[in-house]
C-alpha cells in the first residue's frame, strides 16, 4: 500500500490542489484544528502577560520556571474535575455540586487522618494517607452515584439535583467539625499537594519525560501498523515525524522547565542540614521537577482520554449525548450510564479534594467554594458543547490552563484583586464560546 493510494481515504477527501500550505499541513498531520486554536490562544495569553510585564512593570515574570511550575500546580485541582465534567456535559447534564463535594469529602478526610486514624495507627503511620485517599474517593463516588440515581431513575433534572447537592454538601461540610479548620494534615498526605517535597525532582522528571516519549512513539507506531493492516490511508512519513517531534518536544520542554526551578534557599538549608550535605546551601541547585498533583492530573487526563475514546463506556457517553433515544434503542442502559457518569464525577471531586486539602495542609469547610463554576467554565472553554455530544478531555485541561493563566497573569501584572480576575475570566468564557460557535459554523 503506497502512501497516496487510490483507495478511499481515511481522512475526509479534499482535493490537494486547492489547499494552502497550512490546510495541507493540518490534513496530513491530522491534527485537530480546534486544539491548535486553543493552544495558540493559550500561548498568546502567556506571551501577552510576559510582554505586558516587560513593557509596563519593568520585567516580565510570567514565562519563568517558577511561575509556570506554580501554574501547573494550580491547574491540577480544577483540571482533575474538568475532565469528569466533560462526560457530564456531553450527556446533556450538569453538575453544580462538585465544589461542595470537594468541601465535604475534604472535611471527612481531614477529620479521618487528623482525629481518628492516628489513635489507632499512631501519628505519621504510612497507611494513614492511603486509607484517607481511598475513603475520600469512595465517598465522592457514592455522593455522585446518589445524584446520578436521582437524575436517572426519578427523572429530577440534574441541574436541580446538583443545585440541591451544592447546598446540602456545603452545609454538611460545616457540620463535620462545626466549622473548625482541621490542620495540619498527615505529612505523607501533604506531599500529594505539591511543594518542594511534593515534587519528584530532576531525575524523576526525566524518567517520566522519557517514558512519556516512548509511549507516544509506541502508540504512533501501533496506529500506523493498524492502518496498514486494514489498508487505510497512512499519514505521510514527514507528518508522522513532525507530530512525534512536536509531542516529544513539548514533553521534554516541560521537563526542562520544571527542572530549572530550584528549591527555595530556606528549604535547601534545612535539607542540607538534615542530610549532612557539606556543600554550602547557596551553591546547591535542587530542582523541583514535576509536582505530584501535576502527575495526578496527567494520569487522570490519560486515563479519562482512554476511557472516552477507547472503551465502550466512552462510546456510549458520546452516543447518549448525540441522541439519547437512539442510544437506548441500541440496547444501552442509559440510566445506569448516568449513575456511573455522576459517580465518576464524584470520584474525581474526591480526588481533587485530596490535592486541594493537601496543598493547604489543612481541611476547611470552604474548600472548593465556587469551584464548580470554574470547572464548568474550563470544560466549556475547552470545547465541550452544552448541547451535548461533543467534548474532549484534553480540551478541558487546556481550558483549565487558560482560566488559570488568566488568573495568575492578572496577579503578576498587578491586577491581583479578585474582582479584576473574575471579570477577565467571565469575558474569556463568553468569548471562547462565541469563537467556538463561529468555528463550528465554518467547519460544517
Amino acid at each position: 500500500m503506497t502512501e497516496n493510494s487510490e483507495t478511499p481515504d481515511h481522512a475526509p477527501q479534499v482535493s490537494t490542489t486547492r489547499l494552502g500550505p497550512f490546510a495541507r499541513f493540518v490534513r496530513d498531520t491530522e491534527l485537530d484544528t480546534r486544539m491548535l486554536g486553543m493552544v495558540g490562544a493559550l500561548l498568546l495569553i502567556w506571551v501577552g502577560f510576559q510582554l505586558y510585564g516587560t513593557f509596563f512593570n519593568g520585567g516580565g515574570v510570567f514565562l519563568t520556571p517558577r511561575n509556570l511550575w506554580n501554574l501547573s500546580v494550580q491547574t491540577a485541582v480544577t483540571g482533575i474535575m474538568a475532565t469528569g465534567m466533560v462526560l457530564v456535559i456531553v450527556t446533556r447534564n450538569i453538575d453544580l455540586s462538585v465544589g461542595s463535594i470537594v468541601g465535604f469529602t475534604g472535611m471527612i478526610m481531614g477529620v479521618l487522618q487528623v482525629n481518628i486514624l492516628p489513635q489507632y495507627l499512631g501519628l505519621g503511620h504510612p497507611a494513614i494517607w492511603i486509607i484517607t485517599v481511598i475513603v475520600g474517593i469512595l465517598l465522592g463516588a457514592l455522593i455522585g452515584a446518589l445524584h446520578g440515581a436521582l437524575t436517572a431513575y426519578l427523572a429530577i433534572p440534574a441541574f436541580i439535583v446538583t443545585l440541591g447537592g451544592m447546598l446540602i454538601w456545603r452545609g454538611a461540610a460545616f457540620l463535620v467539625a462545626d466549622g473548625k479548620t482541621i490542620a495540619p494534615v498527615d505529612q505523607n498526605f501533604a506531599l500529594l499537594g505539591g511543594g518542594p517535597y511534593g515534587a519528584i525532582g530532576s531525575t524523576g522528571s526525566w524518567i517520566v519525560g522519557l517514558i512519556g516519549c516512548a509511549a507516544i512513539l509506541f502508540m504512533m507506531y501501533r496506529s500506523r501498523k493498524n492502518r496498514q493492516k486494514h489498508e487505510f490511508r497512512l499519514r505521510p512519513m514527514w507528518a508522522e515525524i513532525t507530530v512525534a517531534a512536536i509531542a516529544c518536544g513539548v514533553l521534554i520542554a516541560a521537563v526542562l522547565v520544571v527542572d530549572s526551578y530550584p528549591w527555595p534557599i530556606g528549604i535547601v538549608k534545612a535539607y542540607a542540614e538534615a542530610h549532612q550535605i557539606s556543600t554550602p546551601p547557596d551553591q546547591l541547585f535542587i530542582s523541583h521537577g514535576f509536582a505530584i498533583p501535576v502527575l495526578i492530573l496527567a494520569a487522570v487526563g490519560i486515563g479519562m482520554t482512554i476511557l472516552m475514546t477507547r472503551t465502550r463506556f466512552g462510546r456510549y457517553v458520546f452516543a447518549i449525548g448525540g441522541n439519547p433515544e437512539a442510544a437506548a434503542l441500541s440496547g444501552i442502559d442509559t440510566r445506569m450510564m448516568t449513575v456511573k457518569i455522576f459517580a465518576l464525577m464524584g470520584m474525581l471531586s474526591g480526588l481533587a479534594a485530596v490535592v486541594a486539602s493537601a496543598r493547604l495542609t489543612s481541611a476547611t469547610n470552604a474548600l472548593g467554594d465556587l469551584e464548580e463554576l470554574y470547572v464548568i467554565a474550563s470544560a466549556v472553554i475547552g470545547g465541550t458543547s452544552l448541547a451535548g455530544g461533543v467534548g474532549t478531555i484534553y480540551g478541558a485541561i487546556i481550558g483549565t490552563l487558560v482560566i488559570q493563566s488568566l488568573q495568575t497573569g492578572m496577579v503578576l501584572i498587578g491586577y491581583g484583586d479578585g474582582s479584576y480576575r473574575k471579570i477577565v475570566v467571565g469575558v474569556a468564557l463568553v468569548l471562547a464560546v462565541y469563537l467556538d460557535i463561529l468555528y463550528r459554523k465554518k467547519t460544517k
Binding site: 477527501q13 462510546r315 437512539a326 437506548a328 434503542l329 440496547g331
Partner: protein, 252 residues
C-alpha cells in the same frame, strides 16, 4: 401464499395504553420466514407502537410474543437483538455526532485485547457492508450528521442487516429517499426475503405495499381491521380498509 408450519413471529392479543388512550387494542399478527408483511394505517393507528413492542422499545400491557413458536420475553431492545430482531426506525435512531462505523456497531462494538474498542476493525467491516449496500458511500470518518438523508438511511439499514437478522422491522424505510435509493431498498428487501428473513414493513405508500409485501395488515384506531393477501385484493380494497375500516370479503 400458504402459510404452513410455525410462524417466525406471532404477536398474540397485544394491548398497550398511554394515559388511558388505547394505542394498540387486542391486536394479533404473525410473520413467516421469507415473508414480507406490510403494516398499514393512518398516522396514530398504532402500527409503530405495536411494532415497538416487538423491538423492545415499549412493553405491552397485555398479550404474548412468540418467536418460532416459543414464548419470548422482550423487555428492552437488547432482548430483541438477542432474538435476532433488528429494527430500522422511522427516525433512523442514529447518534448524529458519531461516524457510520460507530453507529453501525453501537451497543455491539468490536473489542480487541484488553476490552478496548477496535475502531479500525469496525471501520473495515463497515466499508465491506456499505460496499454492498451503497457502493457510492465514502464518508466513513465524519459524523453522520454530515450525511445526506439517503446516506443516513443506508447506515441505518446496514446496521439492521449486518448482524444476521432473522426478523427485520422496517418503519417507513423509504420515506426520506429518492427514486434510485428507493429502488435499492426494494431490491434489498427481495434479497433478504430470499435468505428466509421475515420482514415487517410499515409503509404509507400503497403501491410499495402492493409491490413488496406478501400480506398486509391494516390498523385503525389501535385495532386490527383485517389481514389480506395482497395478490387477492386491489388498491381500492386496501384504501377502504385504511380510511373506512371496511373489511373486504377476502380478509381474515
Amino acid at each position: 401464499m400458504t402459510n404452513r408450519g410455525t410462524p417466525l413471529v406471532e404477536l398474540r392479543d397485544i394491548s398497550i395504553a398511554f394515559g388511558g388512550i388505547k394505542a394498540v387494542d387486542h391486536v394479533s399478527i404473525d410473520l413467516y420466514p421469507g415473508e414480507v408483511v406490510g403494516l398499514l394505517g393512518h398516522n396514530g393507528a398504532g402500527k409503530s407502537t405495536l411494532i415497538k413492542c416487538l423491538s423492545g422499545a415499549y412493553q405491552a400491557d397485555s398479550g404474548k410474543i412468540f418467536i418460532n413458536g416459543e414464548q419470548a420475553e422482550i423487555t428492552n431492545p437488547r432482548d430483541a437483538r438477542h432474538y435476532n430482531i433488528e429494527t430500522i426506525y422511522q427516525t433512523l435512531a442514529l447518534a448524529d455526532n458519531l461516524d457510520a462505523a460507530s453507529n453501525l456497531f453501537l451497543g455491539r462494538e468490536i473489542v480487541g485485547a484488553g476490552g478496548f474498542l477496535d475502531d479500525s476493525a469496525m471501520e473495515a467491516e463497515t466499508r465491506k457492508i456499505m460496499a454492498r449496500l451503497n457502493p457510492n458511500f465514502r464518508k466513513f470518518n465524519v459524523p453522520v450528521s454530515a450525511l445526506s438523508g439517503g446516506q443516513r438511511q443506508s447506515v441505518a439499514i446496514a446496521r439492521a442487516v449486518y448482524f444476521n437478522a432473522k426478523i427485520l422491522i422496517m418503519d417507513e424505510p423509504t420515506a426520506a429517499l429518492g427514486p434510485h435509493e428507493t429502488q435499492m431498498v426494494a431490491e434489498l428487501i427481495a434479497e433478504l426475503k430470499k435468505q428466509g428473513i421475515g420482514i415487517f414493513l410499515i409503509e404509507h405508500d400503497i403501491h410499495a405495499v402492493m409491490d413488496l409485501c406478501d400480506r398486509a395488515v391494516v390498523m385503525k384506531n389501535g385495532q386490527r381491521v383485517g389481514t389480506v393477501n395482497v395478490n387477492e385484493v386491489t388498491d381500492e380494497d386496501i384504501l377502504g380498509m385504511i380510511i373506512m375500516g371496511k373489511k373486504p370479503a377476502q380478509a381474515v
